[in-house]
Each structure stands twice: as structure tokens, then as C-alpha cells.
Symmetry: C4
Subunit: 223 residues, 4 copies
């Protein structure tokens, strides 16, 4: 367990700063690389406005998949940001879980590209949902480990810890629900995925629990 | 609303540092990835200096589109940098608006690639201008929210807030003006876009309002 | 040799922060770019779930290579993180060795892509193992230089320095052992590479030496 | 002109930190993306070790170009790092020059890919040398502006300022010299480029001027 309260004399770069920094870079690259797959196919010469509109409509599934995965990575970045707002100590298990989370995030562009091309097939949906479950579970495990290994700031009460732990299960549960749906109608799996965002927002709004990362200090010290 | 004055005892990574960091990474990746599309097509063997010059001229539209989008992303990075120079508190709405801005920035390489290939068609211009309007409006909304939710340093006077808010509208207005122009002559839409840079510079120079991010402290404390 | 204890009056950005920052960005980009090569080939229309599964099985070598190289880069990032946790001074030789390490890390996606396509050939394995040896030796040299040039925190005892130096040789030794194995059976070379991870973990667990980066301060100041 | 001595009450993210951060991210992405072009062409099935070696030899020019441009970007990152070690104030002209420098760095992968494919043609060399001159001049201008606008720490004496300014001209001068050489023999242009590294090292070693970024404080405070 490391003390992270600033850099004392004779100490190198703070552990927490570096882990968060590296994570942010991986999240940012994965989220930005998604757009690389959104490209027009090679078109013959003499295109008109009408034929270009048709070509743009033809890559609509790529655009939907980009928007979906941007939302998914942004949601998990937000969860990571909120978790590390209250992490004040690091152990090697936390670093391992964090690297596993980054692995899943870095891998997401692949199922996204499969989904963009074969979103009509259940297998593409299951591949995507499977990685979604993995990201969600690793993210939830990371929080659970931070709680049980006492890596969090004292402002995080047991009530807050339980509340955040439950909210972390929304994403993996919805990804799991989407798998049987995909067998019935592959295009309906999207509904379960997109529903993650309003459900999480609803839970946050309805909750009477005060998460310190949302509002650690309501004072306005300098106005 | 978070207090961001440094890391107190038992606090994790400061919220503002991390948001700015993640944003910078997305801006940097989007701006650097633009160059990936600037590549020569496959050329037959036995090229000469003359045939290579012809091939380079053939990809001139790709180079123009790269330079334009580099300028656009750099301009919005500069606006983001200036905004977050004076943001001293964060709320969840600011984070959401910031993620929406990053989404638009990450998406820009796509309209850029369409423009590079079909810049002669009004549809390509309208797609580009449409995303330009979106980036500009979200960037302006982010500033407006920071003002109305009292997230800014006290050095930002109401006069400065209004001045920055007005200057933020230059880009979306010029992108909007370029759409009817594109219908008349697609190549003229570029003129409206490139005009954003001198107009913004002119407004900055003519202004008698003192923006704290431009010059928060004219003292030279250590010489 | 630089004093890195915070930013004094009239000093710019701390040297160590910037070196670590730049390194993290290169590690993060290299590790995330690996996934770009994991893509389905162009498939004919009218795919079924069964044909998509066959196509996914066809790119299994690409997925294995991605997972392997993610692990390798993550392991060297972890070594870099642990080294720079205790580096408190910088000299120009350290910066040079660090740039050489980043060169090797940035180059790894190339042997990874060769391995993904021709992992059945000894030449692909030797190329990969060769770069693995290079990364491992440069990483070990960087640690050795930090020790001999007195760039480390005083908490790093000679015993710790020797222990870390020995552990740093696990990766290059295992990559070297994999080369004769590759000549016998190219697919067996993987076993030597994957063995790096449990061997390093075993050494860490068996060691009675206390590395300050693993646990520099067991006190829990704020609970 | 901004005072950058830490974050006072009611201040946002320090200007200098963010500029350096954004620059590092662009440098890191550009330097890592170079490796994306180092890929084997599509090979027929049934490759042997011998045919794979032939294929690897066939992409040797791509590998050379990657190594060269990695060295060029690393050298300019090092110059940027040394400059911003002693920059303690920022003005908007410095930010503009820095964005111009980042533009040139982000653009370098394009001439690199042309060089990798047509390094036998003078036009490819001139394109590369032309961008090299641009990077070198903007880098030198940035230093000159920091000197004349009094943005540097007081530890930078006029003698140091002149010495750094002269050393900054080595790269653009050598790139300029390579252009007439390219007309005589395109492959000889490489010699002038590679010579930049030993010449810069020689100047640094021969110099009796003490650059504060190389050794601002020889004291070892914590051993």
C-alpha cells in the first residue's frame, strides 16, 4: 500500500498520477481510433450529390457503431474517473485489474468493426456483448477491490461503496440481457445497450446516497 | 460542485487535471490522425521525378483538407485551453458537455476524408460544415454553462464572459454561412471556413476586454 | 544531474514529469494501436452466423498476437513505472536510454503483425524474440544506469538494486531461449514468451527483498 | 505574459503544463504512428523462412525511413523538452509558434511514407528535407521568441541563449545542404540527415557553455 499524499523529498513521480495518466491515454486513443473505421469505400469517379448521399447511407451502420462504442468507452472512462477521484492508495492488485480493464478497452474497436459490418448477425452482437460484460465486470471488480483493500478516501462511506458497486453492475447486466435478445432479433440487442445510459442516469438521480466524486466539497472557496 | 484547490489529505487525482488531461489526449490524437489519410496511392514501378510530382499534385485535396482540419481542431483546442484556464470548479453537466465536444472532435477526421475526396460536391461541404457548427455550438454552450453555473475564477468579469461568449459564435456562424455558399459553388465554402481564423484574430485584437487567460498576470516575478 | 524536488521559482516544467509523461503516451499508443491489426478480412455478402464464426476463427492468430504483445508492453510499462517511482534525478544518458526503449516499444507492432500472419515460421518468431531481447536489455540497462549514476532515491538499497537488476533479465533470457526452440517448432516459442509472466510473478513473490516502489510507505495516513 | 509559479487560489490548470502536455501527446502519437507504415505486403500462402526473409528485405526502405523519422522527431522532442525546461512564462505568440511546430511534426509521417516508397527519387528527398527545414526553423524561431520576449528563467544567460540558438540551426542547415546533394544522388541525401545527430552531439560536448536544462542543479539533496 502506497502513501500518495504528494511527492516527498527523494520520491519519484506519484504512483496514482502515473496510473491515471496511462489509463487516460489508453482510453483517449481507443475512443479516438474508433473513428478510423468510419470511411467511405472507394467510389468510382463522377460522383454526384445524390450518389454521395447514397454512399453515406451505406456506411450508416459504421456511424451507429462508432457512436455506440464512443458512448460505451466514455461511460467506462467516467466510471474510472469517479473511482480514481476517491482512490488515495495503490496496491499491485489494483494495477493488475486496471491493466486488465485497459486491455478490454483497447480491444473494443475490434468487436465494434465486426458489429459495423455484420450487425444483422447474432454472433456479432454476442461478441460485442461478451466484451461489454468483461469490461463491466472488471470495472466492478476494480471498485470492489479498492473498497475491500481500503484504498479509498475516508469520505467514502460503506453506504456509498455499496451504491457505487450496485450501479457498476448495470452495464454488465444489460450486456448479458442483450445476448438472448440477439438470438431472437439481432437488431434489438442495440436497444438493451443504449438503455444502459438512461438507466445509469436514472439510478444516479434517484439515489439519496451522496458520492464524494460527484460533489466532494460544495463550498465555493474563492468567490 | 467540486473544490479543485490542490489535493488535500485523503483526496485522489484532482478532477480538473484529469478532465483536461483526457481532453488534451483526444484533441492530440484526432489532430495527429488526420495525417494518416495523406498518403500516395499505389504507384506502378519505374516512377520518375516528374511522375512523382504529378502523383503528389493528385493528392493536393487531401493535403488541403489536412491543413484545414488541423487548423479547425487547433482553434477549438485553443478555445478549450482558454476556457479551462479560468475554470476552477467542475460539475457533472460540464463533464457531459466536454465529452460531447470530444465526440465531435473525434468524429472530424471522417468529414475531412469525405471532403478530401469529394470536395467538389455540396454534400461533402455540408457534412463538414454541419459538424463544424456542432463543435462550435457545443464549445459555446460549454462556456455559457461554466458562466451560469459559477464554475469560473472570480477574475472573469461579466464583461469578459459576454465577450468570450460572442467570440465563440464566430466559428458556428461562419460554418452556417458556408452551407448556402456550398450550393452555389462547393469550392467557395472553403473561403468561409478559412475566414474563421482572421476574423477571430481581428476580434481578439480589436477588443478592449482583458481576458484573464490571455494575460492573467503581467508581472515578471523572477527576473 | 537535476534536482527534481518540485518547481522552484523561475523553473519550467519538471524534467522527470515530462519524461514520464512522454513515455506513458508512447506506451499507451503502442499498446492500443496493436488492436488495429485485429480486423476481419473483406467478406462476401450474405454471411451467416456459421460463416462469421469461421471468419473469426480464421483471425485467431491475430488475436493471440494482440494479447501476447499487449502483455509484453504492459510488463515493460510496469517495469518502467517501478523504475521511475524511485528515480529522483535525471541525466542526459538516462533520457537517451529512455528514448531507445521507446523506439523498441514503438517498433513492436511490426513484429507482432508478422507473427500474426506467419507465426508458423521460425523467422517470424526470431524477429519477435529479437526485438523482445532488445527491449529487455535496454530496460535492464536503464535500471543499471540509474543505479550506477546515483539517480535513485536513497530508499533503494544496494540489495534492492541487485534484485531489480536480476529480475529485469528474466524477459531477455526467456526471449533468447525461445530462439533455438523456434528452430525446432515455431509454435513452441510462444510457450517461452508466455512463461515470462508467471516466472516474474514467482520471483516477486519469493523475494524477501522489499522494493520501495511496491510498498514505499505502508502507513495509512488518513483512515 | 503569464505568471506560471504554481496554481494560486481561484486559478485553473497552469498554462505551461497544458501546453507541454498537449505537445508531448502530439509528439508521442506522431512518433508511434510512424511504425504503422512498416507492414509486410499481402503474401501468397505457403511462405517459407526463405521467402519471408526476402519479403522482409523488400520492406527494408520502410524500416530505414521509420528509424530516420523516429530519430528526427526524438531530436526535436528533446529540443522542445530542453526549451520548455527553462520557459517560465507563456504568451500567445509562443502558443502559435508551438502549434505551428506541432503541425510540422504531425505532417512528418507523410514525407516519411513517400521516402519509404520512392527514396531513389530526388523529389521524395526534397519533400522530406523541405519539411525538415520547416521544423528546424520553427523550432529555432520558438527559442528566439522565448529569448526576445523574456519568457525564460533568469538562469538562462545571454551566452546560453546564443549557444542554444546556434545549435538549433544545425538541423535546418543540414536539411538544406541535403537538397543539392539529392539532385546528384538521392541516396546520398540520407548521409546529410543522419549526420545531424553526431554534429549536434559534438557541439554539445565541445561547448563550454552551461545549459541550465542539461544540468540546472548539480546538488544531490537527498542522499
Amino acid at each position: 500500500v502506497e502513501n500518495l499524499e504528494g511527492r516527498g523529498p527523494g520520491e519519484g513521480v506519484p504512483a496514482l498520477d502515473r496510473i491515471v495518466f496511462f489509463s487516460d491515454a489508453v482510453f483517449a486513443i481507443a475512443i479516438t481510433l474508433l473513428a478510423i473505421d468510419v470511411r467511405l469505400p472507394d467510389l468510382p469517379a463522377n460522383q454526384t450529390n445524390e450518389s454521395l448521399i447514397v454512399a453515406l447511407q451505406g456506411i450508416a451502420p459504421k456511424i451507429y457503431a462508432f457512436v455506440l462504442s464512443f458512448g460505451v468507452i466514455a461511460a467506462f472512462w467516467l466510471a474510472h474517473y469517479r473511482t480514481f477521484r476517491v482512490v488515495v492508495r495503490v496496491d499491485s492488485r489494483l494495477i493488475q485489474l486496471n491493466l486488465l480493464l485497459l486491455f478490454c478497452i483497447a480491444a473494443l474497436p475490434f468487436p465494434t468493426s465486426v458489429l459495423a459490418r455484420q450487425g444483422d448477425l447474432a454472433v456479432a452482437d454476442i461478441l460485442y456483448a461478451g466484451l461489454g460484460i468483461a469490461i463491466g465486470l472488471v470495472s466492478a471488480l476494480l471498485w470492489r477491490h479498492a473498497v475491500t483493500a481500503h484504498l479509498l478516501a475516508p469520505s467514502v462511506t460503506p453506504e456509498v461503496a455499496r451504491y457505487v458497486g450496485r450501479r457498476a453492475l448495470v452495464a454488465p447486466v444489460m450486456f448479458a440481457i442483450s445476448i438472448p435478445i440477439a438470438f431472437v432479433d439481432p437488431t434489438l440487442a442495440w436497444v438493451a445497450w443504449v438503455a444502459i445510459f438512461p438507466i445509469q442516469a436514472l439510478i444516479s438521480r434517484r439515489s439519496t446516497v451522496h458520492h464524494p466524486a460527484d460533489d466532494p466539497d460544495p463550498s465555493v472557496p474563492d468567490t
